[in-house]
Symmetry: C2
Subunit: 124 residues, 2 copies
DNA sequence: TAAACCACTAACCTAAAGGTTACTGCTAAC
DNA sequence: GTTAGCAGTAACCTTTAGGTTAGTGGTTTA
């Protein structure tokens, strides 16, 4: 059984559905920052400005946008403590973010392998 | 052992290297079309205009650019048959494209799962 | 009392990705 | 002899992602 083609054979429709799934994944976790944010949050919940310091190079505007996206997709929860003054906002990972484990792993493995290949070419 | 953190512990430097690997992967196979082209070519070599028909929605300009990228990264070979008139150009997958199998598989699996989750939310 | 921290947001700008239209010089089919 | 296919390329335009700067109203710290 081919992974990208649902059994028994791959029709145009089936292939397209498979490709859309890949596209969905790429859409949700793609971009420059999402993965970095998720990985940082695996360390533990963080407040906004903490996050901005941990995810080196990100601006407040972009961080804010990315967090909203991640929240919509169920990876991150925005927790507000209204008792504190001023309000304390914390961002924490949802269990759903764990479902990305395999994706991150395979991307990471492939990235390392590819980088080594390129290094070999430059310094054989 | 955590996947994104090389053993023994995750230092800032180690974490960053791991993230860069993920970034590399995302950079090389990301974007709207690369995956689609690779998947289509798994079916067998194709000529330029065949490809454009198979990868529905892509323009000649973009297809041309993407094929160049894919060639540079060793996924695709451009084969020219100069004997034929006019010249026949064929694009075929290189073995290196097979190294993406796991990445494609995990992205696909996750994409399907995520899509089902969203469907459940809309029609419970 | 001044300075810095908090969690953001608004307004603006740049660069890159991708899309559209039109065109090439050549050949084979109608 | 006209039309359609081939493998693209050039010039141009739009959209999107992301970056920059500045500022909000409150609070703790020096």
């Amino acid at each position: 059984m081919n992974i990208v083609t649902p059994p028994p054979a791959h029709t145009a429709a089936g292939c397209n559905a498979a490709l859309n799934a890949v596209g969905d994944a790429l859409y949700v976790i793609g971009g420059k920052w999402k993965m970095r944010i998720i990985v940082v949050l695996r360390d533990g919940s963080k407040r906004f400005n903490d996050l901005q310091r941990s995810v080196t190079g990100i601006s407040a505007r972009v961080l804010s946008n990315e967090l909203k996206d991640l929240e919509i997709n169920g990876f991150v929860k925005r927790v507000v403590d209204a008792n504190a003054t001023p309000v304390v906002v914390t961002y924490e990972l949802m269990p759903y973010a764990d479902t990305l484990k395999e994706v991150i792993a395979s991307l990471h493995n492939w990235g390392v392998m590819h980088r080594n290949k390129l290094m070999q070419k430059i310094t054989p």
